[in-house]
């Protein structure tokens, strides 16, 4: 995984609560057997009419946001299905940061496995960002979002921060505990 660098970009505002992973990547695209190529299907049913015509009223189709790397949204983003395809689609489309007041657990976890930074911010700060149209900078090292001269700090679990900053491979980390896993297996009666 690529180590996470500072991200500077305008913000794509997706003003909805409870966006579920069925909307982020609809089921007809879960049949692919690789991790890439999902970006074209991101928010498919919201983005396209009859499968190909871009819906003008959907925020991702506004040319203003075409280079945006930061998605801003509302409470409980990523609820529902565990499909990691949702994280793959966001990343493949170009989003490296998602900001919301809260996230669903499995989606939140999946983001870190793919080098996406999900940032939990209080609702007031989220509201401020919804009312801002200039570029912002997400700085993971310092745990801040810079909006012009205003600095908004954010909290993140220290181990998750480390994973992203160093681009760590989870499995390689776990395999360092091989002796402990083996010891655990020996200590347990066979179930």
């Amino acid at each position: 995984m690529e180590p996470f660098k500072k991200i500077k970009s305008i913000v794509t505002p997706l003003d909805k609560v409870n966006v579920d992973t069925d909307q982020i990547i609809p089921k007809q695209f879960l049949k692919l057997v690789q991790k890439t190529g999902f970006g074209q299907y991101l928010f498919y049913d919201w983005r396209f009419e009859n499968g190909d015509k871009p819906r003008e009223d959907f925020v991702l189709n506004n040319p203003k946001y075409c280079d945006s790397k930061i998605l801003l949204t509302r409470d409980n983003f990523g609820c529902g299905s565990s499909r990691e395809h949702a994280a793959w689609a966001l990343l493949d489309y170009g989003f490296k940061v998602v900001i919301a007041p809260s996230f669903a657990d499995i989606f939140y976890n999946n983001c870190f496995k793919n080098g996406i930074l999900p940032i939990r911010l209080d609702s007031q700060s989220v509201e401020k960002l919804f009312n801002n149209s200039s570029e912002i900078e997400a700085d993971l090292q310092n745990q801040t979002i810079a909006v012009g001269d205003i600095i908004i700090p954010f909290e993140i679990e220290s181990h998750r921060k480390k994973t992203l900053l160093e681009g760590l491979d989870d499995i390689a980390v776990t395999l360092q505990y091989e002796d402990k896993i083996t010891m655990y297996e020996k200590s347990k009666s066979k179930l």
Partner: protein, 471 residues
Amino acid sequence: MSRTLFEKIWDSHVVVQQDDGPSLLYVDRHLVHEVTSPQAFDGLRMNKRIVRRTDLTFATMDHNVPTTDRSLPIVDQISSRQIQVLEKNCKDFGIELFDIHSPNQGIVHVIGPELGITLPGTTIVCGDSHTSTHGAFGSLAFGIGTSDVEHVLATQCVWMEKPTTFEIKVEGKRKNPHAITAKDIILSIIRQIGTAGGTGTIIEYRGGTISDLTMEQRMTICNMSIEAGARAGLVAPDEKTFEFLRGKKYVPKNYDELVNYWRENLKSDAGAHFDKSFTLYADKISPQVSWGTNPAMTTDVTGTVPFPEEYSKGNVDEEKAALKALQYMGLKPGTQITDISLDRVFIGSCTNSRLEDLIEASKLIKGKKISSKVRAMVVPGSQLVKRQAEQLGLDKIFKDAGFEWRESGCSMCLGMNPDILASGERCASTSNRNFEGRQGAGGRTHLVSPIMAAAAALAGHFVDVRELDLN
């Protein structure tokens, strides 16, 4: 110190405990299916890794399999490829697979318990959010993403931050348990606590009503824990649990010894602390019908489609969401739920496709015909459920009434196979998610119990099943 059931299972599975951050948990059972695993196996290949415990890993194909005649080839080439990839991965890595022709094939959360792969006190993971179903047996069972599937295949462990605990008590005697089902209980809970009400928690369902439920009913409840945002939900195992599993194919040989241990140990201690608590009185609830595009957007069958401002109780974001949901669902506020007519009925999914669900629905259907306006389908959860139902003659009852009787799989719960709604079609469904497009782009889903779905199929619209003779 007194501990909850969840804390006991957690403590006994910690392999590495860090001062700060997640713990490394051992996984006793890993269930694998075709949709969320191909990229995980690819990752293993790329890094020249093997599956650490093939004996604790079980695979089946359920999400995109057709539910029509299995002797015919699969028409959808992309689905077919995904199924072949799972076959190859299981062969290459030495994993037991219940393939499309296996007598044990079925929805992963239906076959786990019926084969005795699911056991009390164990940790169970699967790349599917409805893994919470297995919590009905007093196991800690939760869904994971594909990266974690790869991680578990390679290490038989998963990193997890310890969730908090949420006690949900269900008390009170249901006046008519055939009409007020486990589905109505869980929908009532989600309706009240919200789709994020359980986020970050493990729910333990407790109380007299839960004790009275059968194992199949407990599975329906635990299954939908994720719809309340909780990673897992569980019920302390009891004699019903032990009897359900006794004699199943994969239960360990020392079963009686294990039962003695489980009976003594697998329950929350008296006075154990829960971080959150909620009580539902089951004697006060009605059959539930969802009207919107998430499972909390649900009301009583005797109710009406709400006005957005009434539903949102002052929350601006929720009000906008409700307005959008009503547009998507093509419903006007104030409409009586029983005036909503239906095009389709789906009885199936990991929530409600077990033998008991089919028996309950068939009792109402027997000797009657479904509405001429409705196309209705029964998709048994597994090949075993299908065989057992056929032995009881349920297939004939459903077919005579005008239902289609299908092969087992996830089917129209998520519409990855050809079983989908056309745009604008309205469906009474026993599944778990009424998200936009879930059962087909533009399709409109109303979540209900099997008996409510059966009654809707006969009438062509929703019916209060308490008014029917269900005995």
